[in-house]
């Protein structure tokens, strides 16, 4: 998924404040161009997070949302949880890149619990999905059993309704539009027909200016 992470990183506009979800989206961090001044936010109260440098020891008072040690860029700020979620829901979180179990054709996100499991861990996902100005999902196109993760309706418990705008997978980049999923790009050697076969809802070819790669 590193090519996908690199593509997400390249697509982020300069200067934005971004929250990267636990799991796959975390990988986007290592592909960011420092010249583009992208600010990484962590919901536990960091604005200006960075990965540890090679050989840099952990400071266990500086951790990310996945509880792993990270570093701070010059100019970073620490927030308490209240200001951190004010940032999230109040319009200052430009982009969220979240992992997901499923995304529906209407942009519903299922990411925090599995259907039938008694316990789930929502963390900040519901607030981030509701609050971020632009919600993107980065995930494998199918689950480990080969089942589609882009679906007509979510089978797993929903995190937020109608909030996902774009999905980056190992097979394609698709947008959620009023008419459903529209494919903006296909990975090399992937055809629209193949993609349709592993997607649980209709995938439309891009009719607009974004030619399929």
């Amino acid at each position: 998924m590193d090519e996908v992470a690199a593509r997400v990183a390249a697509d982020l506009p300069p200067g934005v404040c971004v929250n990267l979800g636990i799991g796959l989206p975390t990988r986007v961090a290592s592909h960011l161009d420092p010249q583009r001044n992208i600010l990484l936010h962590s919901e536990n109260g960091i604005v200006g997070m960075r990965g540890l440098a090679a050989g840099e020891g952990p400071d266990w008072d500086i951790i990310d949302a996945g509880k792993q040690p990270v570093g701070l860029v010059a100019g970073a700020a620490i927030l308490d949880h209240e200001d951190s979620f004010t940032l999230i829901r109040g319009g200052r979180l430009d982009v969220a890149v979240l992992g997901a179990y499923e995304v529906s054709r209407t942009g519903d996100l299922a990411s925090w619990a599995l259907a039938g499991e008694p316990l789930g861990s929502v963390g900040g996902a519901m607030d981030i999905a509701v609050g971020a100005r632009r919600v993107m999902v980065m995930m494998r196109h199918t689950d480990r059993h080969g089942r589609p993760k882009l679906v007509q309706r979510c089978r797993h418990p929903v995190t937020a309704r109608g909030r996902v705008r774009r999905i980056y997978t190992d097979l394609a980049i698709a947008d959620v539009t009023p008419t459903g999923f529209v494919v903006r790009e296909l990975a090399p050697l992937v055809t629209l027909e193949h993609l349709q076969g592993v997607t649980g809802a209709e995938v439309q070819a891009d009719g607009g200016g974004h030619g399929a790669a």
């Binding site: 200067g15 404040c17 001044n37 600010l39 936010h41 604005v47 200006g48 701070l72 860029v73 010059a74 100019g75 970073a76 700020a77 620490i78 927030l79 209240e82 200001d83 979620f85 004010t86 940032l87 999230i88 829901r89 109040g90 319009g91 200052r92 509701v130 609050g131």
Partner: protein
């Protein structure tokens, strides 16, 4: 880190337009962004909604917005003060709508605006004229008012120190409403005494994170 310092003043105020809602930090004369307010008054804007704890005194700060007829609506907890002749004149001349908001309700309405919440549920104001006609919510058989969020198109705040990325520190009780308002607007402009480089403020010592601040001007700069 992006450099958010911004001169001249007119550039720092670009995008502020007639009819917008402007949050103004400060309590009395402490923590008031006087240079920014002078600049807004000079722009000759009209029909602003101003949110400010006080309505200014003398010939500086919020008072100038009333003097120059920029304001059609103001939300304040304490508008009546000795020396507020410009506010008085605007009010008595008509055409100025004044909404008195209890100070703590003003705080929470701004917090709701800042934090993307749908409203505030508070006991403050229940059974008073300031609660009359407002929707209520009963919580554990206690009646509370449901107050609306306040969000600014613009916040004008006053800080002591900034780094170039917009991280702010305030001095003493001039902090007051400034951190809250800095978080509650779409465009936040800070007026500061001094600007230092990125990384010169310890991350633990920052009162307002730079992510909430769009532009910085120096307090001592020109009109």
């Amino acid at each position: 880190m992006i450099d958010k310092t911004c001169e001249p003043l007119t550039r720092a105020l670009a995008g502020i337009e007639d009819g917008m809602t402007v949050l103004v930090g400060g309590f009395g004369d402490a923590g008031v962004p006087t240079r920014l307010l002078g600049g807004v008054a000079a722009l000759g804007l009209r029909n602003l909604t101003v949110v400010s704890n006080n309505c200014g005194t003398g010939e500086l700060g919020v008072a100038l917005l009333f003097k120059h007829g920029c304001v059609s609506r103001v939300l304040a907890s304490f508008p009546t003060q000795v020396g507020n002749h410009h506010f008085r004149r605007a009010y008595e001349g008509g055409g100025l709508d004044v909404e008195i908001v209890p100070q703590g309700t003003l705080v929470e309405r701004l917090h709701a605006g800042a934090a993307g919440l749908g409203g505030v549920v508070t006991r403050t104001g229940v059974g008073t004229v300031l609660g009359t006609g407002k929707p209520v919510v009963v919580v554990d058989s206690e009646t509370c008012l449901l107050e609306r969020p306040i969000r600014g198109d613009v916040a004008l705040v006053r800080a002591h120190l900034a780094d170039r990325g917009g991280n702010l520190r305030y001095r003493r009780s001039s902090r007051n409403f400034n951190p809250l308002m800095a978080m509650a607007a779409t465009l936040t402009v800070a007026e500061v005494d001094e600007v230092v480089g990125a990384g010169e403020l310890d991350p633990d010592d920052i009162h307002t994170a730079g992510v909430f601040v769009d532009r910085i001007v120096r307090h001592g700069g020109g009109a």
